[in-house]
């Protein structure tokens, strides 16, 4: 355990690298006199903010997203409010990267992130969770609105060509997968994300540039599943 920080030991701290990092990320000077509690708190806050954000888009990064997701699960388990999780993936992103270069790819990611942040409500959290993958937590989102919300996000992205160089635009689309948290029941972040990822995979395999939301409960049993379920010789003389 590191010893507790107090103002008297502050002189022995080495904040230079932290300050450089903040400066490089565009953070202005910290308020207050260096070494004081208030200054240290401002430094910590600035570092927390920096480590919660994605450097390229300024959106929440995967780390802070997972924290927010656990909090939302807590809330849903207690309040029973419906909450929707969406995962989005830029379609054929590799193509942009390969043919137009990585700078263009970065431009596309930034532009999509911007559209997402503009499209959702202030209470929703947009995060960049992977290379060309985004996630959005939408608290208090009634089940009936889920498809509309997802569709609005998809069309906004599709309607906004991205300028990758002066005068040069590319059209970008996203595939969207979504699932609601089970109300009242305490799920895990992992399970919830797995369910949305499954829907994203479905959206991709059904041709991309579309939204797939999990049906209310995955209680549907496919013919294929039934086939295997009754495959055993056990049932042959019972049916």
């Amino acid at each position: 355990m590191p010893p507790p920080v107090d103002a008297t030991s502050a002189s022995s701290l080495r904040p230079e690298v932290a300050l450089q990092l903040l400066e490089q990320s565009g953070h202005g000077p910290l308020p207050g006199t260096p070494g004081t509690d208030a200054w240290l708190q401002a430094l910590i806050d600035a570092l927390v903010d920096l480590s919660s954000r994605d450097a390229l888009t300024g959106l929440a990064n995967r780390r802070s997203f997972e924290l927010a997701l656990s909090r939302e699960i807590d809330r849903v388990a207690r309040s029973g409010e419906p909450a929707l999780l969406l995962t989005l993936d830029i379609d054929h992103f590799k193509r942009v990267n390969d043919t137009r270069g990585h700078a263009a790819g970065d431009q596309v990611i930034r532009a999509v992130g911007h559209v997402l942040a503009e499209t959702v409500r202030p209470m929703d959290l947009v995060a960049r969770v992977g290379g060309e993958e985004f996630a959005i937590v939408l608290p208090n989102c009634p089940a009936a609105f889920g498809p509309q919300v997802a569709e609005r996000i998809r069309t906004r992205v599709a309607r906004q060509p991205v300028e990758i160089a002066p005068g040069e635009h590319v059209n970008v689309t996203v595939s969207v997968g979504g699932a609601f948290a089970p109300q009242w029941v305490r799920t895990t972040a992992r399970l919830w994300m797995d369910r949305t990822d499954l829907q994203l995979y479905r959206a991709k395999s059904e041709g991309r540039n579309r939204c797939c939301l999990e049906p209310a409960a995955v209680s549907l049993v496919s013919a294929e599943e039934k086939g295997l379920l009754f495959a055993s010789s056990t049932f042959q003389d019972l049916t």
Binding site: R78, D194, E224, L229, T234, F235, L238
Partner: protein, 267 residues
Amino acid sequence: MRGSRAGVDMNSATQSGARVTAVTSGKGGVGKTFVTANLAAALARQGERVLVLDADLGLANLDVVLNLYPKLTLHDVFTGQTRLEDAILPAPGGFSVLLAGSGMIEYSRLTPTVRDQLHEVMQHVRPRFDHVLLDTGAGISDVVLYTVSLADEVLIVATPEPTSLTDAYATIKVLATTQPRRLIRLLVNQVQRAGEGRAIRKQLQLVVDRYVNTNLDKPVMIELLGEVPFDGAVRESVIKRELLIEHAPGAPAAVGIAAAASKHLAG
């Protein structure tokens, strides 16, 4: 993460007191309530303090199975007309019951009030018993899912009929994708021959492995708690509204349930 803060809900397997088992089935009419009542009686016979809570709020029929005409029910507790301890009644078979009572149809949807009340009931009964069996409603409604989430363990009752197996599988699937629980117990009722329960467990596990577990980071395991043979004595006991385990302890179905109870006690 669970229980780390004051006021978090109690979807917890770590609380002291009773082992809480939710008994559910997917499909109705597979003998879920019959199994629950007789399992409770079998546990009571082994000296355990057992409570059966009729959590089939919309369509309760534990009172019918047990031939009880309760004056006080969960409905009276929920409406503030009686204290919870007064609604816990002795049942034939040496266990206690908390019956839903008619009028509970209004609770068949999970509202914040119902949720809080169920939560409170669970907190009250946990320290007072060794085992609590929650007889949930059929189907996969939000009340059923919530009730199951309150329990430490879940037991699915199924029969070898394809419709029952399909619904049992659908229940497992929904539980697997919405709750962190990874062990699901199975009791196969009305088997036609010895070993059928084992075969059914194996087949369910096979389908779960192929279609459910591939999408999970920790696989769902199905464990067979027991099989209960098809037995004419069951129908007789149901019609007479008696507990099979009390009135015909030597009947094959009663023997099957007693064996399941022993396995339940063994962990």
